[in-house]
């Protein structure tokens, strides 16, 4: 195989201006904040408009990226290198032919400089980022449509849309980043917005506490992000400056450095651990997952956006984006049991178990998200990059859909309650469309053929086994059965059985509670809620648990939601059904679009061919040539442990070349394995259905009251209900420990010891001064001291309130002390 000549890759306006995707919503945010309240739709039109614009550009960029990838092949074909058909598989390291690395399209500007290095801000678009850009823009757009109706009449409608728009912008900025600092920027913007949105109804303390908790927990993880970025920067900087004409923040440079074999093991291991800690915090992995369920305090569209394509996916994305760091750091190439895989595996199981004991429908979904993120992490941790990234894609659709369904149920079915046991049941008759979408998404989530989750989740599990992690393979399968179980329970409680509480049209308890509140505090409270509400004219929010007061229709019984709510749900349900076919590996190679367009090619690229894309430089359009191919002996068959000793990420690249992505292994789909996982899911469903009918419908005496009778059952339930006591550990022990005893002790030291010393010196000085004044003749006092005392005394008189006498003495003493110090210094200097 010979290096191809430098070939021209196609590009296009959308690819080169992809930075607009992140910038437009950011500008939209500013416009909403400044002028939103004066606009006819109170700013929501700006949110929708900007996200729509981003979606259009992202779509264009996606299409152009595919053209770019294809253009590499046609160029190649023209140059006579190997092949002409648009068949992307298998990878060279798996016996296929070498394909050229498709260089990202980047356009950046100088953002800041330090030590003579210039750091950029802008966009760098490759397959992964363009996929996520489109996904984020698309989901955000749908969620905002949903919100139009869902939060109508909210007391802070404009703020809501502003924060939602900024939220999407943060994720987009992060996804398109070409350097770590921009990643941090987007990452923290999302943290801020989650704080604002979770605490949207901050009048209630529980909400503001949840907001604080979310921000704070993520911030704990962010220590890892700062430290990891520092390690990577100083680790990769020299390599980047020497070879790639860029700097150590550049993501491409970090990837190349990690795979170059020049990085010291210690450095890269520490960087990987530090960064993964950040991802644990952001993506709600064990043991920092505790903020996610509490984050349900925010409005439902927020949960939906947060849990599908933004925020929690950020951690997974970061791992996928700078995958070589983790690949090398955790020795994934050689089947090392990585930190990521272990955390992912634990998270899958523990959060799935927690989902069983939740009564709040949103919390079930929240734990489900945590569990699914665990799958993604597990996949990345064992080298199954492609299925994990594909799962981000499919999961976004069905999880977003499930949350919106939950929102629809509470909006129109259960009178703003999210309590499945108290206020739901039997809703399938009243809300057929919501029910249908819910069922489709549930099937997708649980991985039933042929819905979306099947194609992605099964691939992850399959690859885990294929790469030699047998135990984790069974963990993944077990998790799938658990998923089927808790989703069945939730489905049953919401849509089947007899309607209860609000679903049965009962008047809501909250009315009474709130009415009492009003009676107690009188008109003041009422005016308060109205005060923040002057812009929308609705005054009747107080009767609503979540402050949203859409009471255009007076009937309080359950009914189907309106069109604006149903439209996004239906679109998402459709995608939950079909999106899996975009990378349906078992159907054959021609279906694997993700592998072709999203997964970077693990080919070494000659330094000469890489065109520096420093900040402020023009966009480069040249495809780097394939480096002299790494010798490959064409072992193909998928077993992961048969030792790919060559290829990117499996040894050092040739001199003067760089790799940007490791040669990951792809499992060959096997019919038996597919059957096995489908059987496990079916078993999960069967058991759960049987349980639901026995427990909730027939009230089987053997099950009802089990927790009272059996100590084991009670202990287990309590352990789960208390969320493994992690919150107890964090809040009661760590946070309270730092906030009270430790902080108080530090402050005590400050006041008593440090300040005590200062005051003691002052006091002692005053006494000594008095003694000196009384006992030693004043005439002996140095003239200079007198002089300074005089000045102080004069000014003291000028300003009456001063304690002139004291100033006099203090001043004299201090100069005396300084004089002594001076003598000491002089003596020491002379010697």
């Amino acid at each position: 195989m010979v290096a191809a000549e430098v070939a021209q890759l196609s590009s296009g306006w959308f690819l080169e201006n992809a930075w607009l995707i992140g910038l437009i919503p950011a500008v939209g945010f500013a416009v909403i904040i400044l002028f939103g309240k004066k606009l006819p739709m109170q700013g929501s039109e700006i949110g929708l408009g900007t996200l729509g614009a981003s979606l259009v550009i992202a779509t264009g960029a996606g299409i152009q990226w595919m053209q770019r990838t294809n253009s590499a092949e046609t160029e190649e074909a023209a140059a006579g290198v190997l092949r002409g058909v648009a068949r992307a598989l298998p990878r060279a390291s798996e016996g296929g032919a070498a394909e050229p690395f498709i260089e990202p399209v980047s356009s950046t500007w100088v953002w800041w400089q330090n030590s003579g290095l210039e750091f950029g801000l802008g966009s760098s678009i490759d397959g992964l980022s363009v996929m996520l850009l489109w996904l984020v823009a698309f989901i955000s757009f749908l969620v905002q449509i949903f919100s139009l109706d869902y939060v109508r009449g909210d007391r802070r409608y404009t703020h809501f849309f502003a924060a939602m728009t900024l939220f999407s912008s943060g994720m987009l900025i992060m996804v398109m980043a070409d350097n770590m600092v921009q990643v941090i920027l987007g990452w923290e913007i999302m943290g801020l917005c989650s704080f604002l949105l979770i605490g949207h109804w901050w009048e209630e303390e529980a909400n503001s506490v949840a907001a604080l908790k979310a921000f704070f927990t993520v911030r704990v993880g962010d220590v890892g992000l700062l430290v990891g970025t520092a390690i990577l920067f100083f680790g990769a900087n020299q390599y980047a400056v020497d070879n790639l004409d860029t700097n150590g923040f550049d993501l491409d440079a970090i990837q190349a450095w990690a795979l170059s074999g020049q990085a010291s093991t210690w450095t890269i291991v520490m960087a990987a651990i530090a960064l993964f800690i950040a991802c644990i915090g952001k993506s709600g992995q064990f043991p920092l997952h505790t903020w996610l369920p509490d984050a349900m305090a925010g409005p439902t569209p927020v949960s939906s956006l947060l849990h599908s394509s933004t925020m929690v996916v950020a951690g997974v994305f970061l791992v996928a984006q700078i995958y070589p760091v983790f690949w090398e750091g955790f020795n994934i190439a050689n089947g090392g049991l990585s930190f990521i895989a272990v955390i992912g595996g634990i998270t899958i199981v523990i959060s799935a178990l927690l989902a069983f004991v939740q009564d709040d429908i949103k919390k079930v979904l929240a734990y489900s998200t945590v569990s699914q993120l665990g799958y993604m992490m597990l996949g990345l941790g064992v080298g199954a990059w492609l299925p994990a990234v594909f799962h981000i894609f499919t999961h976004a659709f069905f999880k977003c859909c499930l949350f919106l369904c939950a929102g629809s149920v509470s909006h129109s079915g259960s009178h703003h309650s999210f309590d499945m046991k108290k206020d739901m049941g039997g809703l399938r008759k009243f809300m057929p469309i919501t029910f249908g979408a819910w069922v489709v998404s549930t099937l997708a989530l649980t991985g039933v053929f042929p819905f979306a989750g099947f194609w992605s989740k099964d691939e992850i599990i399959d690859n885990v086994g294929n790469n030699g992690y047998t135990f984790l393979f069974w963990v993944g399968l077990g998790g799938a059965a658990l998923t089927a179980g808790y989703m069945t329970r939730a489905t049953y409680l919401v849509f089947f059985g007899e309607p209860r509480g609000a679903a049965a049209g009962e008047h809501h308890d909250d009315h009474v509670v709130h009415a009492d509140d009003h009676a107690l505090v009188g008109a003041a409270t009422h005016s308060l809620s109205a005060a923040t509400n002057t812009d929308d004219g609705h005054g009747d929010h107080a009767d609503d648990d979540h402050g949203h007061g859409d009471h255009g229709h007076d009937d309080h019984g359950p009914h189907e939601s309106g069109k604006l709510i149903l439209f996004p749900i239906v679109v998402l349900a459709f995608l939950a059904t079909v999106s899996g076919f975009t990378n349906a590996t078992p159907l054959g190679e021609s279906w694997e679009q993700f592998k072709k367009y999203v997964e970077p090619r693990p080919e070494a690229v000659a330094f000469d061919a890489i065109i520096a894309s420093g900040p402020g430089e023009s966009v480069q359009l040249v495809v780097p040539a394939v480096a002299p191919a790494v010798e490959d002996d064409g072992h193909g068959e998928g077993a992961g442990d048969d030792g790919h000793s060559t290829g990117c990420g499996r040894g050092e690249p040739e001199a003067a070349t760089a790799c940007f992505f490791p040669a990951v292994v792809h499992a060959e789909p096997k019919f038996a394995k597919i059957l096995l996982s489908l059987a496990v899911v079916a078993a999960g469903y069967a058991a759960a259905i049987a349980f639901c009918i026995a427990f909730y419908k027939r009230r089987d005496p053997r099950l009802v009251g089990l927790t009272q009778r059996s100590r084991v059952a009670r202990a287990g339930y309590k352990f789960l209900a208390n969320k493994y006591y992690l919150d107890h550990l964090y809040e009661k022990i760590i946070v309270r420990g730092v906030a009270h005893p430790i902080a108080d002790a530090a402050y005590w030291i400050n006041q008593k010891v440090l300040d005590g010393a200062v005051n003691g010196v002052g006091e002692g000085g005053k006494r000594a001064g008095n003694w000196v004044y009384d006992n030693i003749d004043q005439k002996l006092v140095d003239g200079a001291v007198n002089g300074s005392g005089l000045v102080a005394s004069e000014s003291g008189h000028a300003m009456q309130p001063m304690q002139s006498g004291k100033v006099n003495q203090y001043g004299a003493l201090l100069f005396g002390a300084a004089a002594v110090g001076a003598i000491v210094l002089v003596i020491l200097n002379v010697s």
Binding site: W111, S115, V223, N750
Partner: protein
């Protein structure tokens, strides 16, 4: 040191113009309140214009060189000259001092502290401005010392006369503490002078000659300077004057203190102590780094223990200046750039926080966190501004604070000149943990004061609430009625207004600057980086 000598009058005018205004004020009739305030604003505004003109005239292509340079004879007997100049390191701070004074002046229009005597207050403020600006342009040790000390007196009187209940203790403590440090600093200056052959107090000469002083001697001289500057910064454990001074000072004093005065210390390290005594700096760097990080953690813990909003902000200054000092202690251009950015960012953000604290105190007559609640309901705009500043203060990227904090932490990973990597990397991790604590105390403060419902004590006394009940007309007349400062301390039923016009005028530039420098930090890095890089290169030349 290469210098540019165009427009030599510019710095002198910019620095001493406030004194002219002070002189005019001295002969102004004492009863003419608005006249006095007008002259004050006019003078500060004119100074600000000179500052803007300086910004325009500054040659950004040569920001490593001293510009508008003057080297005139001053006190030949002691070989001290009137040497002034401005480069990329001092330009941002110099202009910041002018801007802050001007905006504080505007704020004073409606918010004169209770003790009265506007005339004296404004005169002191103008004198203070001359001292601050002079410190940043001085290129001669004696001149620097004079300006450095000139700052002390006005602030002493501002706290002592217009301060809170405990003002005497606080002002005295502030004065003596700083004096104590200055005395050592002066001795160190003299020692440096004599050790370099007693030829000149000019910075250029001392930087040239200082490096050749014996290492042990350098360490001792550095110790003297360290005391002087560390008290001013303030570094742990010399910080105890700060919470008292800040808490007791009038709002104007707190803002200037936080925004500019603290920077005199850090500026001194960057401009004087480190370049003139490279060996001393290298020997002291680990100690400075450790104290800086102690300050970060300790300041944050102090914040968590506070029950008073203003005192909490004061303690947060200790933590933030810890980041600045950490950056400096690495002796790398990366760290020093971060420190310089951090100084300006801290000035803007913490200055703004003190403004808010002052305005809250003005309205509620208390800053006790327990009694404040639901600020977002009573004063929505003020509440959002507080939230914005809290976010900026905890180092959110996209706002100015981040660019001081993040590179400073980063720089500690690889300190310069063979400083211990394990030590500084440990410091880096601890400093990073400090950012979590910062988030904790700031958000906790915000949650307690801004979220929730207003406490019973103040419920129903705000414009925002009235506007809802009575309609706009009535509320407006109420606010107008309460607007003419006739309150007498214990009037708990005074109306609580949202942000007022003078507040908007004086705050908007701060808020805009926090966003602009946060979004596009290159504006400042581009100016500072060449000067800092040159400084560190020179350091490298003498440290080998």
């Amino acid at each position: 040191m290469e210098t540019l000598t165009d427009q030599t009058w510019l710095l002198t005018v910019g620095t001493f113009l406030p004194l002219l205004g002070a002189l005019v004020l001295m002969f102004w009739p004492k009863d003419d309140e608005s006249g006095i305030k007008g002259v004050g604003i006019l003078t500060a505004g004119a100074t600000m214009l000179v500052g803007i003109y300086t910004l325009v005239q500054f040659d950004y292509g040569q920001s490593a060189k001293l510009q508008f340079f003057v080297d005139a004879e001053w006190i030949p007997v002691i070989k001290s000259g009137y040497t002034i100049g401005l480069d990329g390191i001092s330009l941002p701070l110099y202009v910041l001092s002018m801007a802050v004074t001007f905006l504080v002046m505007i704020y004073t229009w409606d918010n004169m502290p209770d003790a009265g005597n506007t005339k004296a207050f404004l005169i002191l403020m103008l004198v203070l401005q001359t001292g601050m600006a002079g410190t940043f342009i001085a290129q001669d040790l004696i001149l620097f010392f004079v300006f450095f000390e000139l700052v002390l007196l006005p602030m002493y009187f501002m706290i002592g006369v217009w301060g809170g209940e405990d003002r005497r203790y606080a002002s005295l403590k502030f004065f003596l503490y700083t004096m104590f440090g200055s005395a050592f600093m002066l001795v160190a200056f003299l020692a440096l002078f004599f050790q370099t052959g007693g030829e000149s107090f000019g910075f250029a000469q001392l930087v040239e000659a200082g490096a050749s002083i014996d290492r042990d001697v350098q360490i001792w001289i550095f110790a003297g300077m360290f005391l002087g500057f560390a008290v001013k910064v303030p570094m742990f454990p010399f910080h105890t004057w700060l919470p008292d001074a800040h808490t007791q000072a009038p709002t104007q004093g707190s803002v200037i203190l936080a925004a500019i005065l603290l920077k005199l210390g850090t500026y001194g390290f960057v401009r004087i102590a480190i370049p003139m005594l490279p060996e001393g700096a290298k020997a002291w760097a680990p100690a400075i780094g450790i104290l800086a990080v102690l300050g970060i953690i300790y300041g944050a813990l102090g914040c968590l223990a506070q029950t008073d909003m203003k005192r909490l902000i004061a303690f947060s200054s200790v933590a933030h200046m810890g980041f600045v000092m950490l950056g400096i202690s690495t002796l790398t251009s990366f760290g020093i750039n971060a420190a310089l950015f951090g100084m300006v960012a801290h000035g803007l953000i913490t200055g703004m926080l003190f403004f808010i604290a002052g305005s809250v105190k003005h309205r509620y007559h208390t800053l006790e966190i327990r009694r404040l609640s639901g600020m977002l309901i009573q004063m929505p705009r003020m509440g959002w501004i507080l939230g914005f500043c809290a976010m900026a203060s905890l180092g959110l990227p996209g706002l100015a604070g981040f660019w001081g904090e993040f590179p400073a932490i980063l720089s500690a990973y690889q300190p310069g000149f063979g400083l211990s990597e394990p030590l500084f990397r440990t410091l880096m991790v601890i400093a990073a943990v400090g950012t979590v604590l910062a988030a904790a105390y700031l958000l906790w403060l915000y949650q307690r004061t801004a979220f929730g419902e207003p406490s019973d004590e103040f419920k129903g006394h705000s414009d925002a609430e009235h506007a809802a009940v009575d309609g706009h007309g009535v509320a407006h007349s109420l606010s107008a009625a309460a607007n003419d400062h006739t309150h007498d301390g214990d009037d708990a039923h005074e109306e609580i207004h949202d942000v007022q016009l003078t507040e908007w005028l004086s705050w908007t530039p701060f808020l805009v600057a926090i966003v602009v420098f946060g979004v596009y930090p290159q504006l400042m890095f581009k100016v500072m980086d060449p000067a800092v890089t040159q400084l560190v290169e020179r350091l490298g030349a003498s440290l080998g």
